[in-house]
Every structure is written in structure tokens, then in C-alpha cells.
Amino acid sequence: MRLRILQILVLVLLIAAWYLLTAPGLIPPFYFEQANRAAFFFGEPQKVFWVIVEWFVSGEIFIHLAVTLLETALGFSIGAIFGLGIGLWLALSPTASAVMDPYIKGLNSMPRVVLAPIFAVWFGLGIWSKVALGVTLVFFVVFFNVYQGVREVSPNLIASARMLGASRRQLLRSIYLPAAMSWVFASLHNAVGLAFVGAVVGEYLGSARGVGYLILQAEGTFDINTVFAGILVLTAFALALDSAVGAVERRLMTWQPRAGETEKV
């Protein structure tokens, strides 16, 4: 509780400082030569606030949020499915993994954001170019985790399942897949965050809808308050997404030991 109060206090202080330093004419300008320059570059908190309110009251923001969320969800799901499938395949087939190794390494070290303009050409300015960017970002996170997860399954566990009569298929279903899934979930926060980044960056580079598009538009007209409003909405959205992932994770991973599970009396 005390923690919460302190956290809110920090927020209030930050906003107050922002206001004091940017309100035209409130304090004498000490860096810019004109009084309204600070507001021009850094926006003003009360105006940013009203932009956000306006967005939600008029309902204008919802379509953009929906588009960004859809792109994130699609990017994540497609990337995760490919990562899981290819990760399992390469981890279980040493030859394929040896052949593919340099290519995987190369693709992974390439800064994949540079692919965004190419995707825009291939998939147009609709949602699919953003989804494609999200997929390339998510795929590698999931892929490496699955690969690692399968490689690190205890040989004992495999031997035990074989002695209990598991066929190759059953080994895959009962041992490799659950082991890989636990690593996928460990990287879930990361992967969802990256899908989100893919969506927003994609929108920012060219689109007709989405929160990234709103920011791009505002920037074109030097409307710094709207840019900040967009950034704040994105941040809040990312936080909400993250806690949603956390909730899913807690539900699905009940079997994993967690630190400090004793109940307080």
C-alpha cells in the first residue's frame, strides 16, 4: 500500500515537473530564447491529457487500437506457431539442424526491422505487412526457446517414458512438446512485446490505421501533444497486454515450482 502511494507520488512529481518546465511564460525561459519553445518540443501535459480524453470520448481511438491489437495478435500467433514447429523439427533432427545452423544464425543476427519497407512492398500498407514484421520478430524468440527446451529435456525423462512404453509420437506429445511449451511460456512476455513493436513500427512506416499511424499523422503536422498522447496510450496498452500475458501464464503453468509458495497466516 505504501509502495502504491510512493509510486503515484513519483508519477505526480514527473507530471508536475513536465508542466512547470513547459507551460509558456510560467518560468522565465532559460534554454530556449522564446517562452513557447519548450511547449513546442515537449508538449504540455494538460493538452496531452485532453487529446487522450477526446480520443476516447469521440471513440476515434478504438478502431486504431483494434487494428494494432489485431496485428499484434496475428503476428504473435503465426510467429509462435512457426517457431514451435520449426524449433521442434530442428531440435529433433540433428542433420537438419546442422545444415540450417548458419542460416538461422544469420537471419537472427540481421536487424530485422530493416525488412519493414520490403514487407510494405510485398504485402501492401494493410495489416499484413505489420503482421509479417511481427512474425519475423516473434519467430526467433520462440524458435530459440523451443530449440533450447527440447535439447535440455533430461535424458532420464526420455528413458523413463520409453520404458513406460511411449512410441516416438507419444514421446513428442508427452515429453518434448510440454518441455518446449514451458520455455515458450518463459519467453511469452518477450514475444508478445515484440509482436507489439512489430505492429507499431510497421504502422509508423506507412499505414492507414493503427496507433502508430496516429503518431505518424501528428508528427507530420508538428502536433507534439498528439504524438505524446499516442506514446502514452501505447505504453498503457503495452502494460495491459503484459499483465494479460502474466495472467495466462499463471493459469497454464501451475505445475512449475515458484519461489515462496507458502501461504501467510
Binding site: 525423462l157 523413463s160 517414458a161 520404458m163 513406460l164 511411449a166 512410441s167 510440454p178
Partner: protein, 273 residues
Amino acid sequence: MNGVPALALADITCRFAARDGRSDAYTAVANATLEVAKGEFVSVVGPTGCGKSTLLNVAAGLLEPSSGTVEVFGERLLSTEGVNRRAGYMFQADALMPWRSGIDNVIAGLEFRGMARAEALVQGEAWLRRVGLAGFGDRYPHQMSGGMRKRLALAQTLILSPDILLMDEPFSALDVQTRQLMENELLALWAEDRKSVLFITHDLEEAIALSDRVVVLSAGPATRPIGDFRVDLPRPRDVSEIRMTPAFAKLHREIWGAMREEVLKAYEAQKVL
């Protein structure tokens, strides 16, 4: 105990290639021959690192020996045909599936054999009760104590009613009291239908208290059996009481005499490393 043995290891040699490729291959087991008759409880004792687990893995069909043959009820065990289907294996280390609850771990083998879940659950619950875990079926392995996990593994293995039971130091991680409880439970379960058991331990007292026969292995490298002792103690036994009898003490002295030197050898060898 007549006819073909349940398990016959003949002239088994296991060499492990050295990882770094420079030093020589390590011969863990050399020319080991060992038989377990139908319904016989055989213990194998030997100093740590001598190759007990290796030998058991060979018997399970999990490890192909460099040379030698394994016969299960008179039939050759071939590595091309997979593991030893008539054996159940209780591992030295924890081998439960952490993502499955207790009951789901117990019925895993039945599930692999394609039994309907409802039927498997009935059997699973019965086995949980037999190993004293009734009501703990919905706990995950990490929510159980070490002893509970061992009992769960026991139920997981025994539910398939294997003809041969391979056990690798199953109780070595438990405290003395729990251990004696589990040893008695094992003997009671074994008495019901007399499986053939190959039981590995480095605890001589445990070996004598449980078995019909105790086989002593030499220290590594190139481990092989160097002693084979029949244990003619009456059954049913209570493992804590039988330790007090003079017959037990006599056997213990006799076998320890054979083991002592090997244990010291193994200890010296490890000190050098």
C-alpha cells in the same frame, strides 16, 4: 526356480568413447555375466562409479553394450527393436514428468498403451492408495516430498505389472525411517506376485535385507561381478528386524569381506582424479 532365467546378461562389456577424443576410451564394465531367475530378487552392490547404472541400462535395452548379449526370458534383446518391453525401470534420479499431476504420472504408461482414460484413472487411484498417496493425485511432483516422489515413481512403474523390475538405488536419497518403510512396502508388493527384480544399491545392509541373492561388483574401471552370495533368510521379512538377527550379521561380515577391498580401491582411484 527352474527353466530359462528372466534376465540373462552374458559377457557384457561397455566402453565409453572419451569426449575429448585424445584420451583412451573408458571401459566401465568388462565381461560381466549376471542372471536373474523368474521370481528372484537379486541385488547388485558395488562402490560408487563402478558401473551399476550402466549395467542396469544395458538390461533395460537403453544402452547397447559394446559386446555381449542380453536375453529376456530366453529371447535376445536387440537394440533395433527398442527397449526391454517386459521390464519396468525405477531410475536413480527423479524421472517424473513435472507437468503432469501425480495421478497423470501414474497412469502415463497405461495411456501410452492406449487404455481408456476412465479405466486408467480407476487403476491409478488404486495404485496411489497402495503406495500411500491416496488423495495426493492432483499434486504436481514439485509439490511433493522426495519420499512421496519415490512412491509415485514406484506406482508409475508397478501399475504396468512388468515381469522384470529394474531398480537403481531407488531409496538412497531417503532418510533411514522412510527408507525402511518403503523397503517393507516394496517387499510386500513383491510378495504378492513375485516379479523378477534386479535391485541396485551401494548399501550392503539394504541388499541383504531385501534379496534372495547379492552380487558384488568390483571397483571400476572394467567392473565385473566378483562375488555371488545366496541370502537364505526366512520370508516374509521385516527389514528393520531382520538386521538384528545373527544370520544377517554373519552374511554381512562375509560379503563385506569381499567388498571392502573394492570399496577402498574405488576410493583411492577417485582421490587421484
